[in-house]
Symmetry: C2
Subunit: 138 residues, 2 copies
């Protein structure tokens, strides 16, 4: 996808740093912390500041381009929005993998009827032990 076009459509400037952040998130197979993005871009010799990254992410979240996730690490991680999925977080090695396929729309309908609460979004994450770590625990 052409991030440059997407940003223009959203009405914000397609700066180098913004595109770099988007490309990094796009390439990553897991959500990234702000500091991780910072160091990765540094390694790519891209001049960037942590504060800028936070500002970019904040704007992206407002535009629904990016979502934040909390893996209980004392900091937040960010990933491209777009496809709704959940995560399997290994509490042993920290590995994160995506889990597609959970439909809570029925539950949300029940919540709407029973509590008159209108669900806009939900957070669902699974913590446990990945295949590799289960083997190592033997």
């Amino acid at each position: 996808m052409d991030f440059k076009e997407i940003l223009k459509e959203k009405g914000i400037k397609a700066t180098k740093t913004r595109l770099a952040v988007l490309n990094l998130l796009d390439k990553s197979d897991q959500p990234l912390a702000a500091t991780t993005i910072f160091h990765d871009l540094k390694n790519q010799k891209i001049k960037i500041d942590l504060a800028t990254i936070y500002r970019i992410i904040e704007k992206f979240i407002g535009l629904k381009i990016v979502k934040q996730v909390d893996f209980r690490e004392g900091m937040l991680r960010y990933e491209l929005a777009g496809d709704h999925h959940h995560h399997l977080i290994c509490q042993s090695c920290g590995d994160v993998s995506s889990y597609h396929g959970e439909c809570l729309s029925e539950v949300e309908k029940v919540i709407k009827e029973k509590y008159k609460f209108n669900v806009a979004e939900h957070v669902l994450e699974f913590f446990g032990t990945c295949d590799n770590c289960q083997k190592e625990l033997i």
Copy 2:
């Protein structure tokens, strides 16, 4: 429930501050932030320090007496463990209510079979608009 007994069974001292924290969480109908606990106990004229509250909570979490939850407020909240439930968080007024009754054990079984990932626990929270705020938005 007799928290004093519970703490003894767990093998840690039943101090005034620990019991005060437990009683406060027990009385609350929603998870509380550390600073909230701090101020509430202050109001009860109980001498206590924020650092102590964090240490108490840390210990309680280790003993599975307390669980932490993240409502995306930039800080964590804590509640008594014990009964598994989820929350309906109103993004408009901040009100939090409990939602009992969601069974993900089937999903976790599928995850186990398909990804060989062993789920130890899951986090499921609903964000949206409560009944009152829906009315006010008219």
